[in-house]
Symmetry: C2
Subunit: 415 residues, 2 copies
């Protein structure tokens, strides 16, 4: 691991100076390699999937593990998309003259070496590598052991692509052992690795954060809320609340709890119930919600556990609240500081919600499912940070960089 | 400590919503309290200084510990200056329409609760408290045990000032015990404290960073360089290199090593030697520098240790380098990623230096002594970060905040 770290550190130094043209050439070359080696990739993947079946992995995990022609093409497309994004490195901003006569501004530069630890999806190998490469960072990748053959095959394409573009192989290294001790070493490689980004379930992320001696950018769970305010437009409220849950269940920006102001609950909830039920969504509701319906026999009573659960499934918890204060307090205490939305026409309520809800994204009259790097204009993302330091929300190329100060004088000395 | 943490967390929630007017009122009220209670402050300080003398503290430490009429006035002035700075909280930037029709931007918000651990200077109690208050963060302060009576007296003024402005005392809390175990508890108060900022010597900062389970903003040493390039203007080179060392020795932006391109060494070094020697600065030089002078009897030979030492004193190490590459490599491997400057008229050399030197501030034709929050236009600073994550360089009000995403739609749902 020490050797891996040293190699990465050296490569990072070269990569930080690489031109945009050269980095893009590497990204396109890797994409070409993936397309050209589809047969080999699928063969390697078949080995993983078969041993996964033999080890009785569950269906969802096997699905995440599987590659096919479409998914290989998606990986290659993803690399080319990242080649098309603007290069964040070297951008100089806020350059201003100071009273002393010096000019002071900021220059965006890579972080250095990034360690990424992820689970079964082999496409992460290509996606994460591409984001790190474009942002000028060397990366050490550690994928799930169940995807080792797929990852090695992808890594081979990456190495060839880097070579074609004249960049050192040390820019993107894959840990080629499934030994779990390697993760423990990686997250303690201070001096060689600047930041660790775990991608995967809550369990993985909590374990990594607890043990790492290197700073970690965390993406914990997404317990997202929509709050329908007393002054909400009922049509927008129903559209947003339905979309936030029903568009896709399995993404971290999916709403898990719907909060409804008591004043509008009788107006919006019956229609929403109809829509959710038609879609097959299980509803777990507070007592006041139950009392709204004369026939509440099909309704499940929500418990405290529901307010703190990320279902990622066709389940929704619903609570009627007295007012905006109760909604904000509920979100800040039970939510996960990910993405929360208010539906209202009232400017004061909107302002208070946007300011006081302590989440990485706060939204007004918009579906929480918009929480996504592409939707925000950041391009591909490596995760969504629920941390407060360094970067909050979708982590794209900019989140993988930092800014140093640049000071320009003309022989200026400080009096 | 747990109770302290809970109180801070509650206060932080209130403080994050406090108006600029109210925060400024508190800062001005605290300044007024400091002025009004000068006698009590000086009496408390006398107790600390006397017990410091009895415990044989060294002169430098006793000097840092001491308050007098001027220093009390400075503290009060500092608070009023911070009241005069723009409030970073709530600032919305980069608000743009996306193709989907939603608007996406960023809002600057406080971090939450900050723990500050510092050494003997009692003025840090007021300075740090003021920066945290203005940036909307609650703070838990832990000063040096030798300054406990001074700090308690200042804390009393702070509490009264907060009360006058209608803000809870929990916004600014001082740990009122000198028990060392309290520091260990503070840096592990995850869930209550969001960030730890140690202020003081390298020993303190390394100990804190090594043991904290909460993210730490580090300011390690400032081994700053000036590199005089082959294409330097000799007049600017001499001015900048003299000022960078001689203006003040004890600040972290002071130059500790001077690198000189071989091509200009014979032109600039004799004059610089004259000036440094006249000022009483001890020179530790490489062999090539010694060979420049026929009478080199007074010159001390630099060793590897000199390249990695922050003297903070009237000592300077000097090295002649072959070229820009050697200068950049020397700075990146021996420096401390704090502040480094190139003197040159050559655009290509300047561009390479600015991009490739991996320091929190890179400078062109300017003295490293400009590395300072006020000089950069950030106002008062809580330290200078040599970290890469979250904030690099002088940490002012902005460094004590983060940005969350704000998304505004009008009933927008994601297709």
């Amino acid at each position: 691991m020490q050797t891996l770290g040293q190699t990465a550190r050296q490569a990072a130094s070269l990569l930080s100076k690489a031109s945009t043209r050269q980095k893009n050439a590497a990204l396109n070359a890797i994409a070409g390699q993936l397309r050209a080696n589809e047969t080999a990739l699928l063969a390697a993947n078949t080995r993983d999937v078969e041993s996964g079946r033999n080890n009785a992995l569950d269906a969802a995990l096997l699905d995440r593990l599987e590659l096919n022609t479409g998914r290989v093409a998606q990986m290659a497309d993803g690399l080319q998309q990242i080649a098309g994004l603007a290069d964040p490195v070297g951008e100089i901003s806020d350059m201003n003259f100071r009273p002393s006569g010096i000019q002071v501004g900021k220059m965006r530069v890579p972080l250095g070496v990034i360690g990424i630890i992820y689970e079964s999806r082999p496409n992460v190998t290509a996606d994460a590598a591409a984001l790190c490469l474009k942002s000028g960072n060397a990366v050490i990748l550690r994928g799930g052991s169940e995807a080792i053959h797929s990852n090695l095959a992808i890594a081979k394409c990456i190495a060839t692509g880097l070579e074609e573009a004249g960049l050192p192989a040390g820019c993107i290294q894959l840990i080629n052992t499934t030994d779990r001790a390697a993760v423990g070493e990686l997250i303690r490689l201070s001096g060689f690795v600047d930041i660790i980004i775990p991608r995967g379930g809550k369990g993985l992320i909590e374990r990594i954060s607890g043990e790492a001696t290197i700073p970690v950018i965390k993406h914990l769970d997404g317990i997202c809320h929509v709050y329908i305010d007393a002054q909400a437009d009922p049509r927008k409220a129903i559209d947003v609340a339905y979309n936030a849950k029903a568009r896709r269940y399995g993404i971290c920006g999916a709403m898990e709890t719907l909060l409804v102001n008591q004043a509008v609950a009788p107006e919006v909830l019956p229609e929403l119930f109809k829509q959710y039920t038609k879609k097959g969504i299980e509803l777990r509701v507070c007592e006041r919600t139950q009392n709204l319906f004369s026939d509440n026999s099909g309704l499940i009573t929500a418990t405290e556990k529901d307010w703190q659960t990320e279902y990622l499934a066709a389940i929704l918890s619903i609570k009627i609240v007295d007012d905006l204060d109760e909604a904000i307090a509920h979100i800040n205490s039970w939510g996960s500081h990910h993405t929360d939305s208010i539906v209202t026409q009232d400017i004061s309520a909107a302002n208070r919600f946007m300011r006081e809800v302590d989440s990485s994204s706060v939204m007004l009259n918009a579906s929480t499912q918009f929480a996504d790097g592409f939707e925000y204009g950041l391009g591909a993302e490596i995760g969504i940070s629920t941390d407060k330091l360094h970067v909050r929300g979708p982590v794209g190329l900019e989140g993988l960089t930092c800014q140093k100060y640049v000071v320009v004088g003309d022989g200026h000395i400080r009096p």
